[in-house]
């Protein structure tokens, strides 16, 4: 029951996000607005209740599964972009390699070493 009550909270925040996106014509997805609203609300409240904890943990654990239906589509559109696979593969492989390296460099450049309060 706790998890279901928590799920209701998540849905309420998602709907709030949806409403804000619609009202302000935001270019972001309702989920991300809901995420920010959730963080803000928890910060104001000062703690995470057991309900929300019980609902959010399993959902985060299956996050990867939730995008599977979309991503397997790649295996079924091979013919459509027949002449461009080299460009696509190079862009994804080399592009990602380069961007991971850049982000790592930026973080190491600007991030102060961790303080010892761990």
């Amino acid at each position: 029951m706790t998890a279901l009550r928590g799920f209701l909270w998540l849905v309420v925040f998602l709907l709030c996000g949806e409403a804000l996106v619609w009202a302000l014509a935001l270019p972001v997805s309702p989920g991300v607005v809901g995420l920010l609203l959730m963080t803000l609300w928890l910060a104001l409240r000062g703690r995470v209740g057991p309900d929300i904890q019980a609902a959010s943990q399993p959902l985060i654990a299956v996050l990867a599964m939730l995008i599977m239906p979309g991503v397997v589509g790649i295996f079924f559109i091979a013919d459509e972009f027949a002449g461009q696979w080299l460009a696509v593969a190079a862009a994804l492989l080399l592009g990602t390699l380069a961007s991971v390296a850049t982000t790592l460099w930026l973080m190491l450049r600007f991030m102060p070493p961790e303080t010892a309060d761990e």
């Binding site: 959902l59 985060i60 979309g70 991503v71 862009a91 592009g95 990602t96 790592l104």
Partner: protein, 240 residues
């Protein structure tokens, strides 16, 4: 035999249950395989699951569009799951607040370059504008990326496939680079995984620990928000 299966298949596809069952089965089977292989750091479990699922669809002769229509019910949970990321984010808020400046300095160039590298390479190799538009949001979390791709005139399945490969390659790169650079700071690893590898990177970050997970959630959300504002604008400027 074949026609009997055809009839049964049609019956089973009448509700979304077959698609949902297949997705769950592939997810757990992939996870099992991943664990049996000793959770390799260069490859996320999702890749196994996705390949098993694709193989199952081919073997069972299920049309991808039929499958997609049913499994769409599962993807509905992506909304609440994204909201759920607010919990670890809140729990790590003090540590995030301590370094908000370096995070905000690093984010715009990191998110811009993630798109620019891919689009630049594809453009040099002669990809069509349609393909370029599908590759631009490759580091953006799925629900936002769908919106961006539609706006830029890209192809959704190609973009989603790009997300898969980007997530896998990001996980692999971080898994291979981090030990070589003697990098153990969970804040840096998490942020890099989230900014570049969206949900798939974030899942890996949570495997590293709650701090890395929270920084990945943050990186993923900020990249999503920034890209949603930046990419359509950049597209208009370049005149594609």
């Amino acid at each position: 035999m074949n026609s009997a299966w055809g009839g049964l298949r049609e019956q089973l596809l009448a509700t979304p249950m077959l698609a949902i069952g297949l997705t769950l089965a592939a997810f757990f089977a992939g996870g099992w395989l991943f664990a049996r292989l000793g959770k390799p750091s260069w490859c996320p479990g999702i890749l196994f699951s996705a390949m098993l699922l694709a193989a199952a669809l081919v073997v069972l002769g299920i049309d991808y569009t039929d499958y997609r229509a049913g499994a769409g019910w599962l993807m509905l949970l992506l909304g609440p799951a994204t909201v759920a990321l607010g919990v670890p984010l809140y729990q790590q808020l003090p540590r995030i607040r301590a370094v908000w400046k370096p995070l905000l300095i690093s984010l715009p160039p990191a998110a811009m370059l993630a798109a620019l590298y891919a689009v630049g390479i594809a453009w040099l190799l002669g990809a069509s504008p349609e393909v370029l538009a599908s590759l631009a949001p490759k580091s953006v979390t799925a629900p936002i990326a769908i919106g961006i791709t539609e706006q830029l005139g890209g192809v959704i399945p190609l973009m989603m496939g790009g997300l898969l490969i980007t997530g896998v390659v990001t996980t692999a790169c971080v898994g291979l680079l981090a030990p070589r650079l003697r990098l153990r700071d969970p804040r840096v690893l998490g942020f890099v995984l989230g900014v570049n590898g969206h949900v798939i990177g974030t899942v890996r970050a949570f495997e590293l620990g709650p701090t890395a997970g929270a920084f990945a959630s943050l990186g993923m959300s900020l990249t999503g928000i920034f890209s949603a504002l930046f990419l359509p604008l950049a597209w208009r400027l370049v005149g594609l």
